[in-house]
Symmetry: C2
Subunit: 495 residues, 2 copies
Amino acid sequence: MSKIQQLKDRLADVNALHCAVAIMDWDQQTYMPRGGASARAEHVGILSRMAHELFTSDETKRLLENAKGESHEDSDEAAMMRVTQRDLDVNTKIPSDLVEEKSKLAAVAHEEWVKARANNDFKGFAPYLERMFEISRQEAEFLGYKNHIYDALLDLYEEGATADDAKRMFTALKGPNVALVRDIQNNGRKIDDSALYGEWDVPTQKAYTEMLVKAIGFDMNRGRQDVAPHPFCTGWSVGDIRLTTRYKPYIGSAIFGSLHEAGHGMYEQGTPQSWDLTPLAGGVSLGIHESQSRTWENIVGRSRAFWSRFLPDLQRSFPALGFFDLETWYRAINKVEPSFIRVEADEVTYNLHVLVRFELECDILENKLAIKDLPEAWNAKYAEYLGITPKNDAEGCLQDVHWSQGSIGYFPTYSMGNLLSYQIWNALRKDLGETDLLIEKGEFQPILQWLQEKIYSQGRKYKPKDLVMRVTGKPMGAEDYLAGLDKKYREIYGI
Amino acid sequence: MSKIQQLKDRLADVNALHCAVAIMDWDQQTYMPRGGASARAEHVGILSRMAHELFTSDETKRLLENAKGESHEDSDEAAMMRVTQRDLDVNTKIPSDLVEEKSKLAAVAHEEWVKARANNDFKGFAPYLERMFEISRQEAEFLGYKNHIYDALLDLYEEGATADDAKRMFTALKGPNVALVRDIQNNGRKIDDSALYGEWDVPTQKAYTEMLVKAIGFDMNRGRQDVAPHPFCTGWSVGDIRLTTRYKPYIGSAIFGSLHEAGHGMYEQGTPQSWDLTPLAGGVSLGIHESQSRTWENIVGRSRAFWSRFLPDLQRSFPALGFFDLETWYRAINKVEPSFIRVEADEVTYNLHVLVRFELECDILENKLAIKDLPEAWNAKYAEYLGITPKNDAEGCLQDVHWSQGSIGYFPTYSMGNLLSYQIWNALRKDLGETDLLIEKGEFQPILQWLQEKIYSQGRKYKPKDLVMRVTGKPMGAEDYLAGLDKKYREIYGI
């Protein structure tokens, strides 16, 4: 057996353990009965430890070193080994007792966060949050960084990205985004989207959203859509990618949530079959992944062209929406309004939510901000950037689940996804011409094929920044995004 | 850490791998998209191998030997070590390359069986079946046996049971069962159950069967019911037991299939919390497991008392059944009619299907019957025992999936389950008195509690034969079962 094959076999074993954890996680969020929680935590803990031990073992390192001699530069094998080396470096640097402590704390802190948000009790949650940030600081020190402690954490989610990249991005975004929001609020039309809230039949929503995700190209023979409280996309093979959605009084939750997750899902379904179950499979970074979910949710899904095709179907399914014409519907689903909830924010205010979190994370990690002072700092930033002030901490700094789970340092990738979605779309339009004509006819295949060829089929072969250069011819920047937003929303609001 | 704790930790790791395989299997049979099959096979294969390697490793054996000194006779720990030793013996004796060959052959043979049955092509399937029996012969030789090659295989599913036990059982059953079937056919009433076939609304069936399984005591907070082509029960913790059912033109498929699986499920839910995820958890043998599914399906679920309580609900849910009175309904769901399909056979003819398979298995394993002659032998036995002859092999020896999957040697446990269901029920009635009164009122709790205390809470602590003695005061026999059947069916058929 070749040395590369020996390495591949080893990585396949690690992959099987990770996939077991992934399916257990999917099950927990979709179908698991309440009584299954404690055993599930136990099983996930054991299998995660096994995966970590097997992957970071001396034997894996030896197999990797042996295999390196056999691969040719620029080959897929070489890319696989580069990716494996990176994963190995990261996983080896963080000691397993810290991994274990974090995983246990996350389980407890998540429960405490749920309670704290329900009871508007930040003080009760503060000690867990304090410890979680302390663990992140330690992780960052183990991982190492050149300039900013944040670099070490962000790099986990977006290889090569730094706090300076994020700061530059937000500096470019902040002024124009805040200005656009103010213009809309002060000088723009009033848009009424109240008709989008109601009691919508769940089986009809299910049928409709499944029709939509299939229409844009998500392959239901190699995936499915279920219901989860917090929508996500996961998978364990190119032939089995799972979307989740949710059905809420706002009908946009199901529609745009489904399109969003299908964007993630089509990226995952685009892995070449020969890379399936290997380290090259799947998305290359959170930012580029998010660019694809935002593309299908916003650029395609919130366009006039899309609803010129799909509004009649929608109105047949939901007669209560029958009175909308294309223009009023288009405006209603693009209503801009500062709110406290990031996940339901419109395209324009979205980055401001992310900015608040990024700045606070930096301040806490640098010990410039104490956890006890977080609520005040949070509220001040909401007042400054969004012009609104949370009435309590449940609506304020207890909003997001991420910190309780130890996900610290990845909020910027949401905004990177927004920027990249427009930047990549412009590159696509240079090749394909007027995309509106395709979308109006429901012909998504040329669009999907382009993305498939340029991005999805590349898996993790290139580093994120290199992939962006290859696909768009320039590094990530804010100009395509800002221009796109300006054009769209100044027209919608008549300003 | 105590030596017992070290062993427990090791076994918990093995258990986590087995549970990962179990949930992957559940998912494959319920929700997995078609495209997921090949990766699923790969993952299940890898994780099964890991579990086998980890369990049979020298380290596990060392931990077990070390721990033995620390446990007291008759303690739970001692029982756990006995069970572990048995599992270890069995798993160590069969070489892993045979395990691997069998698992691969099973994947291929199952597909070939599906094709062969669809095309009525026994010859196409014969080579796979030939090899599968050969592997079973080899397994049996590795496992060892005193009298009959069949003993080694049956013991895997029913510890301590032998071919002689099975032969004695069938000898006791055959005459009375065949005679009862003939009396019913020749001298009994004609029963019309055609109204049970129709197009039944699936959500209504789902709601109704979930109501039923909850009513008898299956805890939906610690379990759920989904749909699968072939109903089964599985689980990975006392807090997470999964039933499946199916919705067919015969409304009894969903009703009695659900009650059957709930019987398995309540057994699994009855494991003491402190044994959860340990080798003592779950059912002790296939025969005793089956006795519980048959109890709730037949003794409870096909009784007059049960439907005196539930027929009105049923008729509200399915108005097309409204014309039945209790007596005609009771007769319809207990109609006896020889057929070719074991899984849908009535209580009376059921064991004759099993007997056919058992006798043929013995003959093939002993090289008294060649695979090529199997169709003829099968048909001859159906003619002799059931009075009917399959019109082709699809209806004949290609009926059951089991052989293609390498499940050879466990058919007798189905009949053992039938015998034990009546034998245990009679012991229960000695303690609880007239159970019909409880069932009529829908008060299943005393029944469940009795079974819980005597059987479910004992897990794998006692050997199957010992447990039967403890619960019923005598070894397994046919008399309770035959008397029960005789009383019930002679009354139903007026003979």
